[in-house]
Amino acid sequence: MTRPWRPAQRSACTVLRALAAATLVLAPGLPVQAADGPPAPAPLSHYFSAATDDPAAPDHDGFIRRWMLLDPIAKPNPTNIVFTGSYVREALSPETYPGRFGTLPRPGAITHIGETLTWHALDSRLWDVKLFNFAQSRGKRTYGVVFWAVTVIDSPREVTDVRLAVGSNSASRWWLNGEVAAELFDDRRMVMDDVLSDRLTLRKGRNVIHGAIINGPGLSDFCLRLLDASGQPIRDVEVVVR
């Protein structure tokens, strides 16, 4: 969540830090608090594991957890209130994709956009994909960024009247097989099934999903699942990133 009035946010953060510093007992698995400063960021393994060569399945609720994620691209924005549809369509377009849009990046592939950025094949440990924590654990910038995410849905059959159901923080755009499927604008919080696409057809075989998420200050994440014609999650597909 982003609040445009940043001094108040800083003030609240200062209070929270002070409270955290007074806490001596931490839950297992959380990063160890430094004696004289804020806790170290959680490691990447706290939120993600490396994707394997074996196909993954959507989780019980149909959320897609396996993604190729690119390190964040710098896109400075001091606030999220600028994320109108016009702005987001221009900022997140196939022309701004780092590479040839529609192709699947190779894990470990490197691109240069002001700095060296790497594609990572990851499985989220959670139903949503924690982009802020991904960037933070990589030592990358977390505010004023654009994230790109790519995955492949391998369907055993053609499925009509499918909808992409997306939530993102903040704005984002999503493509299925190269066609725009869902767009989320404005200063936005991530909630499941926030924006649903029109009815689409999932091809038999490989279907490529591209997503781009833009955020100013604050946390950033997304969730995505496929719903069938009756609104139920589609789970009998394989998710691969290779």
Partner: protein, 483 residues
Amino acid sequence: MRRSPIDPALAALAAATLSCAAPATAQLAGDVFIHDPSTVVESDGKWYTFGTRGGGLVSSDGWTWSSGPIRPGGGVAPDVIRIGDRYYVAYAVGGGGLNGGHASEVKVMWTRSLDPNSPDFEYHEVGTVASSNGVENNDAIDPAFLFVDGRLWLTYGTYFGSIRIVELDPATGQRVPGNQPVDIAIDMEATALLYRDGWYYLFGTHGTCCDGPNSTYNIRVGRSRSVLGPYVDNMGVPLLRGGGKLVAAAKGRMIGAGHFGHIDLGGGLEKFSLHYEADMDRSGRSVLAIEPLLWRDGWPVAGSNIKAGTYQIQSERSGNALQLRTDFVRIPFDARRSFMAGPNDPITAIPDQTLAENGPAWPEGAVRVDLSAYMVRPNQHWLVTPEPQAGGYFGAPYYSIRIAGTERALAVRADGREVEAVPRFTGDERQLWRIDQLTDGTYRITPKGARDDTALAAIGTSSVSLVRFDPDSDAGRWRFHTP
């Protein structure tokens, strides 16, 4: 039905003029002149209701009605129920206070079709199932059926004494041998029974009928766990002592609400038929009406159609408002200065954002619609206008739904599966909507040409589409708020 206030000669004259229909203005279209309408029932793809003196009305959509149905036997205030392949018709002969008499008989007959053109249209007499002798405190008119759990019940009676209930054999329509009438209410006319969630509801009409714009008719209800009573109202007053919770009364230019009839259209959509003793826009004549039926805390309440006006259309699912999906236009505001303002700084009003401020950012062509937090913005305000010339459905006209101050109209896309706002309202069927109030007071929004029970629904927190209406979900429920 109370007959005494009206002269029989005038009644005959009124009956002769029933077919001289005035243009539809307030509610329903076509020939809607009827008194004591029976429960509206479907037969052969059309909907029928019968009134006093043998005539009836028929409609294919519940909006435009015409005369033509045939009910032999004459008499007053019939009721109709379908059980299996039979339509049982009950009606009363005699009584009603005409010439001071209260000796009457409730007769029953049946037919396999109500359509005079059907080969199954043939009435069969069952005979008299209840009567009053003219001396006892009962007048056996205004019969009404209820069929629950394989048992068929019939209430009857009017202002003269008590309302009574008897049991009939659903296989024959005859009175169950040995069954004796039970008194269940007083001070009622035109009763009707309904069973719902373990309660039996007894509807009836209080007040005076048959006096045009001076008729005080109003519909009341009590309920009981047993079909034989005791029926009590919301205050615990027994209907046998004159209790009755108000369901419907006069409103607007419609006076004298009476003769309740339940219409269950399925999918969470319930309505009721009634007559108004006087439609002030139709010479004060008695007319058929159909209105939404709501349920609140286990009690039936008359709902209301949406009136012409400008509204926020709010999704019951997410609470978000239906809007043109356009770029958010900010109201100029210095948040930093506002938060730092002192208690004695001058206070000024900030005007609402105008269409001139918000509209220039809108695309010229069709614009998709979505849901977002309500912000009192011009792209969230919809002018809802009845379009009765386009017809209607069960008591509600079709509506246009336009962005206020513009011609941009909510419409079904050419693919028939999604919605958008087109630049200009043309009256095309894709731009017309049914707005039916559901039993919880929310509304369902249905395209005029909808097939397969399709309706406007919030398919996500922020997304809308046309999908099959699910009565068990809030996705297809909408509220209309004035800005």
